[in-house]
Amino acid sequence: MSDREMVRDYLNSLMKFLSRLDKEDADDVLREIECHIYDVMEIRQENGQIIDAGEILRGFGQPRELASQYVDHILEGAPPPMGFRAIQKIKSGTTKGLYWTTAIFGYLFSAVLVAIGLLKTINPDAVGVWPSGNGESVVIGAMSRIPTDTQEILGWWIIPIALGLGLGGAYLTKRILNVLKPKAR
C-alpha cells in the first residue's frame, strides 16, 4: 500500500468515527489533520528523509481513539435537553433499527399532519375533525366521503394546528435522532 493510500484509508476511517460531529466540524478536523500529514511528508521529502506515512499516522493514534477525543464531549459534556434524560440513558445501546424506525415514523407522522393542513386550503369540506361513535372518538383527516351525520368541529383552525403539530413533530424527531444517532463502530 502506498503512503497516500495509507493516509486516505486513515482519513476515511477517521471520518466514519467523527460522524457524531456536525459535517462542517468533522470536515474541519479532517482537513487540518490531512494538511498536517502532507506537510510532514513534504518536509521529509525536502530533507531527503524517508517518508514513512505509517510512522506519521502512529503519532495520531488509532482513528477510533483520536475521534473519541473530539466526539466524547457531545456524549458527556453538554447536559441533555429537558425531557431527554431517559433517552440519554439508553442512547449508548441504540441500534440502527431504532434510529431508522424513529426517523420513519416521526417524519411520516409530521408529513401527514402538514399535508392535512395544506389540503384544507385546497378542499376545505373534505378535511377536518369529526366526532364519531357518539362523541367517544374523533375522525381526523382528508375524507373521500364526508360524514353526514355529524358536524366538523375545528373549521379553519385545523390549518395552524396541523401545520404547527407537523412542524413541531419534525423538529422533535430531528432532536431525538441527534441523541439516538448510533455510534460509528
Binding site: R31, I33, C35, H36, D39, F60, L66, Q69
Partner: protein
C-alpha cells in the same frame, strides 16, 4: 517514586496531564501558530514533547471553551493552514494558570528546602 527515578518519562507524563493547557496557552501568547508549528515547538523541549494525537484534540477543546480561536489562512502556493491564537478569555485563563503554577512551584520549593527532622517552619519566616 523509585520507579519515577528510574524512568523520568513517567513523571513527565503525569506532570504534563496537569500542565498541558498552561503550556499551550503560554506558547500561543503573542503568537499565531498552526498545529505543526506548535508541535515542533513543544517537541523542542524535553518535558513538553507530545504527540499529534494529544495536541489536536486539546486544541479543539481549548477552542470549544473559548480560550483560543482558529482561522484558516493560506500564504502563496502553500497549503492552507489553521492558525490558532489566544482569545481574551484565553489570556485571562493564562494569567490565572500562571499564578497557580508559580504558587505551586513556590510551595514545592519550600518543601524541598525544608527537609526534616525538624518541624516545617511557617512560610515567610
Amino acid at each position: 517514586m523509585a520507579d519515577n527515578i528510574k524512568d523520568p518519562s513517567k513523571w513527565d507524563v503525569q506532570l504534563r496531564k496537569g500542565t498541558l493547557e498552561l503550556v499551550i496557552l503560554s506558547l500561543l501568547k503573542g503568537r499565531n501558530l498552526y498545529g505543526l508549528e506548535l508541535l515542533g515547538q513543544l517537541q523542542e523541549l524535553e518535558t513538553t514533547a507530545i504527540s499529534e494525537g494529544t495536541l489536536y484534540p486539546l486544541l479543539d477543546r481549548l477552542k470549544r471553551d473559548g480560550s483560543i480561536d482558529a482561522k484558516w489562512h493560506q500564504e502563496g502556493d502553500t497549503r492552507p493552514r489553521k492558525y490558532y491564537n489566544l482569545t481574551k478569555n484565553g489570556q485571562e485563563k493564562l494569567t490565572d494558570l500562571t499564578d497557580r503554577w508559580r504558587k505551586s512551584v513556590e510551595d514545592i520549593e519550600f518543601l524541598l528546602e525544608n527537609p526534616g527532622p525538624q518541624k516545617l517552619p511557617k512560610k515567610g519566616k
